[in-house]
């Protein structure tokens, strides 16, 4: 499956047929710091992903002066 990561933008291929939580673990991403999006829908950590899925892992952290 294809994962689009942001800031900086890049894409990686990882094995599917497992949960969002497992994919984020492999990528070293804290699930509380990202939105996981598939086909315009938010996914919780328990959702199972398929081999041909494409997801976006979008950080929610903003830095700098506010």
């Amino acid at each position: 499956m294809r994962v689009r990561l942001r800031n900086p933008d890049r894409e990686v291929e990882v094995p599917g047929d497992r949960t969002v939580r497992a994919v984020l673990d492999e990528l070293g991403v804290n699930p509380d710091t990202v939105l996981v999006i598939r086909a315009g829908e938010l996914l919780t950590r328990e959702v199972r992903l398929g081999d041909v899925d494409e997801i976006e892992v979008r950080p929610v952290i903003s830095g700098g002066s506010r």
Binding site: D32, R45, P59, S62, S65, R66
Partner: protein, 327 residues
């Protein structure tokens, strides 16, 4: 995973509350939460005109969206920082939101209105880029609100912002700033009332709300933010939170309930008008006028005054959160 309210399939999980929600219920819960926060802290009075500081990011647009939906008189304020394509995209997003919602928008541009931009000020001045950006925002928000006759300035600071700032302030024992880290700062001596209606909501929640509402926001991070102190504090807090969900909320909300009174006497500064622009400050010239003079290569004779150097150093290490300190 099921929605806590309606048992439909959940789309967002809030681990610190051991809760999950479907799209419809989450949006509703978010709005209700902001409404309660505004009421609990008397953030907005009936008939108040609110100026919402909007950057184009998820937090400020989510806030503007909720305020409009709650029926408030909420005008957006966009400040052009001159950070290349990033600022261009931010401006487009804010203008697009205002047009879609039929909301009023005030635009201020540092280059057009004050003769400098943030990259130049960061390169030429004594402060870090984030510090001069932060003080410019605080200055412009207050001045625009005063000049526009607004009653209150609302910003999109969220729980993660507040917890990270409190961590930074505590690590340095900046008691004066700790004392001012309140969700409401009342109006005084040329300073408009400032409120932070999202201070109890995490970044995950504000991002989820913006996404679920279909708000087009700037996902890209500011290109100048790399290595920013605030980001490092957030990462540290997130590492703790991952093992102990709720720590961030306990830290910041616990401070508001039990810690802030202990620091009350530290927030006791005398303000007077800046001799150049008239905005309130603790010295002869405000920090914005000093930073602007540095960016423009002008001389301003207060630059080397001891008392003001202290203020500049404090701004340097605390870029995010010093509402009361416009000087």
């Amino acid at each position: 995973m099921r929605c806590r309210r309606c048992r439909a399939a959940a789309v967002i999980e809030i681990r610190r509350n051991n809760a999950a929600y479907c799209k419809t219920c989450f949006v509703q819960v978010f709005r209700e939460h902001v409404k309660r926060t505004i009421e609990r802290h008397d953030m907005v009075a009936a008939g108040d005109r609110i100026l919402v500081a909007v950057s184009g990011g998820k937090d400020s647009l989510a806030l503007w969206d909720v305020l409009l939906d709650l029926g408030h008189d909420a005008t957006g304020l966009y400040l052009g920082l001159g950070i290349g394509a990033y600022s261009g995209r931010s401006r487009e997003v804010v203008q697009g939101f205002a047009a879609a919602r039929g909301a009023a928008l005030v635009e201020v541009d540092l280059e057009r209105d004050y003769g400098f931009d943030i990259p130049t000020a960061g390169a030429r001045g004594a402060r870090s880029t984030c510090a001069v950006c932060g003080l410019s925002k605080r200055y412009v928000f207050n001045r625009a609100a005063l000049e526009g006759g607004f009653d209150v300035v609302a910003t999109g600071h969220n729980l993660d912002d507040e917890a990270a700032t409190l961590l930074g302030n505590t690590l340095r024992w900046q008691t004066e700033y700790i004392a001012r880290q309140a969700p409401v700062l009342p109006a005084k001596e040329g300073l408009v009332k400032k409120v932070k209606p999202l201070h109890r909501l995490s970044e995950l929640e504000t991002a989820a709300y913006a996404f679920l509402r279909g708000i087009d926001y700037v996902v890209e991070e500011c290109p100048l933010v790399a290595g920013n102190t605030q980001l490092r504090y957030k990462e540290a807090m997130n590492a703790i939170e991952a093992g102990s969900p709720g720590t961030k909320a306990q830290f910041f909300l616990g401070y508001l309930e039990r810690g802030m009174p202990l620091f009350a006497t530290a927030d006791d500064v005398d303000l007077r008008p800046c001799e150049r622009c008239g905005q309130p400050t603790t010295g002869r010239f405000c920090a914005f006028c000093r930073a602007r003079a540095q960016a423009l290569g002008e001389r301003i004779d207060a630059l080397v005054e001891d008392g003001e150097v202290v203020g500049e150093l404090a701004d340097e290490v605390l870029p995010a959160e010093i509402y009361g300190r416009t000087g």
